[in-house]
């Protein structure tokens, strides 16, 4: 696929992107209500806690497909297609947009189990993508 359009991190999501340098998927958590927050914020939109109540924790990298589409772009758009774009529900309870990649990408469907995999970016960060996890087909 052509070059990724990945911008800078927001002030609140720096730790997410820094962890991707080590291929670690981390999530922001609110320790006051024990729930993860996505996207990262300066406060917990559930209970309004902020400051030391917010922390970063490793995620398992496992999830299931919540919704999935296959892009059929005209050749004129200059990108290889088809490819799959999905919303994935992580075990921890947050939803991420991603691409499903790998040999089974186009046969993935809603409720297919997936696990994180990484695509290197030019600046040393890695972009989290997901591949079908045979072990966790739901």
């Amino acid at each position: 696929m052509s070059e990724r359009n990945v911008g800078p991190a927001s002030p609140e999501s720096g730790p997410f992107w820094e962890a991707t340098r080590e291929r670690r998927l981390v999530l922001q958590w609110c320790t006051a209500c024990e729930e993860p927050i996505q996207y990262p914020r300066s406060f917990c939109p559930r209970c309004q806690a902020s400051g030391s109540s917010l922390e970063w924790r490793d995620a398992s990298g496992l999830g299931v497909v919540y919704a999935i589409v296959v892009e059929h772009k005209p050749e004129a758009m200059g990108e290889e297609s088809p490819y799959a774009v999905a919303l994935v529900d992580l075990e921890e309870g947050v939803r991420l947009m991603t691409n499903i990649v790998g040999p089974d990408a186009l046969s993935a469907t809603i409720s297919t189990g997936v696990r994180v995999t990484w695509e290197p970016l030019e600046d040393g960060r890695n972009l989290p993508l997901f591949e079908v996890s045979a072990a966790k087909q739901v």
Binding site: M1, R4, N5, V6, G7, P8, A9, S10, P11, E12, S13, Y39, R41, S42, F43, P45, R46, Q48, Y66, A67, I68, V69, V70, E71, H72, K73, E79, P82, Y83, V85, L87, R95, L96, M97, T98, N99, T109, I110, S111, L127
Partner: protein, 387 residues
């Protein structure tokens, strides 16, 4: 003018931030959020009480960050006076019962932004747009991608089929055939829709709205003055709005839009039930969009939209005339189509629609959908007989 705002609403909490150094150590969404939380605390309220959000750039983006689902939204930007305009509009909304607790906010840190070289490009002082950070890298094609995601989920949860979505395009085209100004005027079949090129599966080309030029306008005045003017008045019987996200990955449930809040609220204000609606102008950016409106506005139960649109129920002669101008799918769609919903609803209620006129129409609903199923606004319009 009728009515007055005098004494109808009150400011109950305030906050501000400033420093003798001329600099603040917080900025962007963090600073905006801190101000809102402080002002709410000043009032003895919390975010859970908030049902109205004003922001001079995007009340939708800020509400998403706050995690609130407001039914009153105001992104008016008049420069430095935006916040007085927000207060004026909020007072009007509260006086009319459209909102109970409205927050307005402002934050800017030009001095520290310059020093710390924040801003520029996609990085506003608020940080990159969440879409840039969490969605753009994955190359979901806009605008059809988010709607295709919703369609995929609706198909999975309720067994909705591509054929059922296609029925919407087919029925809408039948209306377009009756509108001499429609972009497309040839009848189509379900097979035509399914044979049209796949765009973002499961959506085909004929599941998608047009791209055309287009323009429209409306004029509104008091009911009293309306009676003295040239055309039969079309009255606003009810109106309500709700947004629950800005970007699709933040939508709480891809199969239920905030129309499930705005629709019933507007119908209740208008004192009507879905059965009373003679014409539904439901924003059809895509076939799935129209299907979701039918469910969320209560014309059928959640999940039953696919079966509802079979057998031409929304076509000419059907029990629920929908998008009688030919819709965004076949009439016109310049990018933001909501104006055309209102114009057609008014013309139908005035009886001006010629071959596509729905005889005896007295109640019409213009239901607009903004961004990516993000903000729904429902307007119930009626003839004099409905008052």
């Amino acid at each position: 003018m009728t009515g007055t705002l005098r004494g109808a609403a009150a400011i109950v909490g305030v906050a501000d931030a400033a420093s003798p150094t001329g600099e603040l150590d917080r900025f962007g969404r963090d600073l905006e959020t801190a101000m809102v939380l402080e002002a709410l605390d000043d009032a003895g309220l919390t975010l859970a009480d908030v049902d109205g959000v004003c922001h001079s750039q995007s009340a939708m983006a800020f509400a998403e960050y706050l995690g609130v689902h407001p039914q009153y939204t105001d992104s008016t930007n008049t420069g430095g006076s935006s916040y007085e305009v927000h207060a004026e509009h909020a007072a009007g909304a509260i006086a009319a019962g459209l909102a109970d607790v409205v927050v307005g906010v402002y934050a800017a840190t030009p001095r520290s932004d310059r020093k710390q070289r924040r801003g520029g490009g996609r990085f506003t002082p608020n940080g990159p747009m969440p879409a840039a950070e969490w969605e753009w890298p994955y190359r979901l094609r806009m605008p059809m991608g988010p709607y295709a995601l919703a369609a995929s989920r609706h198909m999975y949860e309720f067994g909705t089929t591509p054929e059922q979505l296609a029925e919407i395009a087919v029925s809408t085209r039948k209306w377009a055939v009756l509108n001499p100004r429609a972009r497309f005027s040839e009848e189509i079949t379900v097979s035509d829709v399914l044979a049209s090129p796949m765009q973002v599966a499961p959506l085909h080309l004929l599941d998608c709205c047009l791209v055309t030029d287009g323009a429209g306008a409306f004029v509104m005045t008091s009911a009293e003055r309306a009676k003295t003017l040239r055309k039969p008045p079309v009255y606003v019987l009810g109106a309500a709005t709700c947004h629950d996200h800005m970007i699709i990955s933040q939508m709480p449930d891809l199969t239920t839009t905030p129309g499930a809040i705005s629709g019933p609220a507007a119908f209740s204000m208008a004192e009507i039930k879905p059965d009373d609606v003679d014409i539904l102008m439901g924003y059809d950016s895509f076939t799935i969009t129209a299907l979701l409106h039918l469910e969320d506005l209560g014309f059928c139960s959640k999940g039953e939209g696919g079966a509802f649109v079979e057998d031409g129920r929304t076509a000419p002669g059907g029990s629920l005339p929908m998008n009688t101008n030919g819709g965004g799918l076949s009439y016109t769609h310049p990018g933001a189509y909501g104006m055309f919903l209102i114009v057609e609803a008014v013309r139908q209620l005035r009886g001006e629609c010629g071959p596509r006129q729905v005889e005896g129409a007295e109640v019409a609903v213009a239901h607009g959908s903004g961004m990516v199923l993000s903000c729904m606004s429902t307007l119930v319009l009626g003839t004099e007989a409905t008052l």
